[in-house]
Amino acid sequence: MGKFFAVILVIIAVLSAYPIIAHKYVQPEDISTHGHAIDEQLSDTMAESGFAFLGAQFLLAFFVWRFTARKEGTKVSHLPGGAKLMVVAAFILVGTEVLALGVFGQKAWASVYFTAPKPDDLQVQVQAGQFAFYFRYPGPDGKFAPLHPDKIDEGNSNFFGLDPANDVEARDDVVAAELAVPVNREVHLMMHAKDVGHSFYVRELRLQQDFVPGLDLSLHFTATKPGKYEILCTQLCGLGHYNMKAYLDVMTQEDFEKWMKEKISEQ
């Protein structure tokens, strides 16, 4: 039974690692300026964890193969070096790994969170509500009008609670159901939730950030490749959660200007 266990365990370990080693399942192409740091961190961690995973499983298989159901009366023996060796090994192997991953990994995190948005970035306000995202651009005046949650009226497409009758700045604000951004220009998202918690997740941007009711959060990124990408809600928000999505449309600067003009004329 020991040998059988060992063989099955080795097969399981190899089959488990194969799809990863063979790149059968990989993250979609990165289209952000910060994403490569996250991807690199992911693949470094994969290499180190893979090594630990295979090493431990093979060792377990080998010992079980070797030390099961030996002759009656076989005297048991102990690993030379004993517990001390194991403790030292754990500290050296894992300690360095923890330090390395811990220290270097912070760079990628810092690139997302610890740099201030550029002054000339494109500001977009994002509102998440059950079960849709809406995006607001400041319009030609460059100013966002204040929000009045009591004025929210989805039937009349007043998703944000704007009050154009009284707020001059609200009259030119552009509201869209998709996030259109120009390529290679930094976008600064100002995020708030209308009702419950939601999240903003774009795989290709390597970005994920929760919306917290009552908090205004901000996030900035630069998309480097034109195309349409899914924006998904990843925070359980109610019965329509699985269907809550929008699209990120990364355009050339000219296309973006054209899009914006059309939107302004629709107001």
């Binding site: 996250i38 030996r70 995190w109 209308k194 419950v196």
Partner: protein, 590 residues
């Protein structure tokens, strides 16, 4: 007058009558079995729920016969609606985390064996002990009631994030009375667990037999003891959090709800609360809860391994110190569940380091288990197979923790199936493997009859291979970016992942069906199994020095005296290669 020993003070009279013996029993052994029975009911239900979810994910339009009778609204014509999927998910998580992973390895086995292993006649507070079980049972009944009310079970997940969970029925189905029942149930569960934890701690510190120093206690006793300390602090935070949630929901307070929320076109009459407060309170409990689930299994596995290897671990002390440091570190890491929650991004770094550091004691333990196998003479029983399977699962589930402990990687993997794969393997499957190992090891002691070993081995192979087939692919899905908690994958992106989802579902159905073998084995062996000898596995600790099952006061009228530490294996004793803990004979060799 001679002073009575603490053990003598706490003894209760022998039970008389059926009710006192088997239902409202003060006997820790009966209470342990009751907890086990409750966990068994919960795990069966929880597993059926996971079947329904997996079935729905890959065949969303196929009717499940009979389901419409359980919920006409949730499954009209037997087809699960998106909101009912979320109800199933919430109930699955709640049942498994609370009523299975906390009850089975900790409350059930701990209750049964902790007093015996330290040479006590019962728990320190037998009445509290009975109360903790009945409170937990009440919590279970309250939770299950949610299936049968018109509102249906809550849809906010087992984490019940506010304000979704706090607003009330405006936020969606199941969030009215369903969510109330959930919060009441968890509050009751916390109360029951607090009583249990206090009892475990006092019993361990107060009622040890003569000669049973702390370092002579078996590793599983240590594990239950450390777990009790964690549980005492963790449930003491979740209990008030649940009470605040109930107040927000019923008394118009705003602990977790800020102002200006418009839900279902209604401005909510709340102001000043913080949704992040709920997350902090919840995860302050939630992360230690992971260790509440896994530490007892680590203890059980160490205990089973030594009897199976016929030698002690390289160092029991190092295992105990590792468990203590894991317990200590478990208080500093809750924020790693909240890297992208909107809390201050600087605190993510602060939470990341202790999280990565936990890997060190976990690796030490793994290496000690592995290194101890060297030179062993393994007796491959069903219990040993599950103990070895535990090590494999613990490693597999553990390495994926490396990814999620790093905030930068978590940005991408958070809320994907990678997380689901990680915690199911390390907290779910590994912990359950510990429970299986304990069951095959101790069933004879608990019932007086042995489990069938052949069935046990078949059960192991189905479960071991099956769980890998289910949970390894979850990691692949996560790497591609497959989101969790979605009731269907209708879009272009996740559509191509369907074949892998189908594979998982089929594996889950087969592995789940394999558990019927275990249930059959339990019930069949309980009545018709081979009678269990006193010490079938040639173990050394005190539970093997009493009959199977032990009498109501465990040791008869004898007060056991302990002469050795718990694991004198691989020595020359009068009975073979081991010396019992309560045997005064000198230990030779080893």
């Amino acid at each position: 007058m001679q002073e009575a020993s603490p053990a003598q003070v706490h003894v209760h009279a022998p039970p008389t009558g059926f009710l006192r013996k088997h239902v409202f029993s003060l006997d820790h052994k009966v209470i342990g079995l009751q907890y086990y029975g409750l966990a068994l009911a919960a795990v069966t239900l929880g597993m059926v729920l996971s079947w329904l979810m997996r079935f729905h994910l890959v065949w969303p339009n196929a009717a499940i016969p009979g389901l419409n009778f359980i919920s006409k609204v949730g499954a009209p014509g037997g087809i699960i609606t998106p909101e009912y999927y979320l109800s199933l998910l919430t109930m699955h998580g709640t049942l498994m985390v609370f009523f299975v992973l906390t009850n089975a390895p900790f409350a059930a086995f701990g209750n049964y064996f902790l007093p015996i292993q330290i040479g006590a006649e019962d728990m320190a507070f037998p009445r509290f002990n009975m109360m903790s079980f009945w409170t937990t049972l009440a919590a279970f009944v309250v939770l299950i009631t949610a299936f049968f009310i018109p509102d249906g079970p809550p849809i906010s997940g087992w984490t019940a994030y506010a304000p979704l969970s706090a607003i009330g029925s405006d936020a969606g189905p199941g969030l009215g009375w369903g969510q109330n029942l959930w919060a009441i149930s968890i509050a009751l569960f916390c109360a029951g667990s607090l009583l249990g934890a206090l009892n475990f701690i006092s019993t361990t510190l107060d009622l040890r037999a003569k000669g049973m120093t702390l370092m002579r206690m078996p590793i599983c006793t240590w594990a239950w003891f450390i777990t009790s300390c964690i549980a005492l602090l963790a449930f003491a935070v979740l209990l008030p959090a649940c009470l605040l949630l109930i107040l927000d929901r019923t008394a118009g307070t705003s602990f977790f709800i800020p102002s200006g929320l418009v839900v279902s076109d209604r401005m909510q009459p709340h102001a000043g609360g913080s949704p992040l407060l709920w997350q902090h309170l919840f995860w302050f409990f939630g992360h230690p809860e992971v260790y509440i689930a896994i530490l007892p299994s680590m203890g059980i596995v160490s205990h089973v391994l030594m009897a199976s290897m016929r030698k002690p671990l390289l160092s029991a002390k190092v295992i105990i110190y590792s468990m203590l440091s894991i317990g200590f570190l478990s208080w500093m890491v809750w924020g790693h569940h909240m890297f992208v929650s909107g809390m201050n991004p600087f605190s993510s770094l602060l939470f990341s380091f202790p999280t990565l550091t936990i890997t060190i004691p976990a690796t030490i333990m793994t290496l000690i288990w592995l290194g101890s196998l060297y030179g062993a003479n393994i007796r491959m029983t069903s219990a040993a197979l599950f103990a070895l399977g535990f090590i494999s699962m613990f490693v597999s589930g553990g390495v994926s923790g490396f990814f999620l402990a790093q905030p930068s990687i978590d940005i991408y993997l958070h809320a994907t199936y990678f997380v689901v794969g990680h915690f199911h393997m390390v907290m779910g499957v590994a912990s359950i493997f510990g429970v299986f190992a304990g069951t095959y090891f101790w069933f004879g002691k608990m019932t007086g009859r042995m489990l069938n070993e052949t069935l046990g081995k078949v059960h192991f192979w189905i479960t071991f291979i099956g769980t890998y087939c289910i949970f390894m692919p979850f990691h692949y899905l996560g790497i591609v970016g497959n989101i969790r908690r979605y009731s269907s994958f209708v879009d272009d992106f996740m559509g191509p992942l369907m074949p892998l989802h189908k594979f998982i579902t089929i594996a889950a159905l087969i592995t789940g069906a394999g558990q019927l073998l275990f249930l059959f084995n339990l019930f069949h062996s309980r009545f018709w199994g081979k009678p269990a000898p006193q010490n079938p596995w040639e173990g050394t600790s005190l539970e093997w020095s009493v009959p199977s099952p032990p009498p109501w006061n465990n040791f008869g009228d004898v007060h056991p005296v302990v002469y050795h530490d718990s694991y004198q294996y691989g020595v020359k004793g009068s009975k073979g290669d081991y010396v019992m803990q309560d045997s005064p004979e000198q230990v030779v060799g080893g």
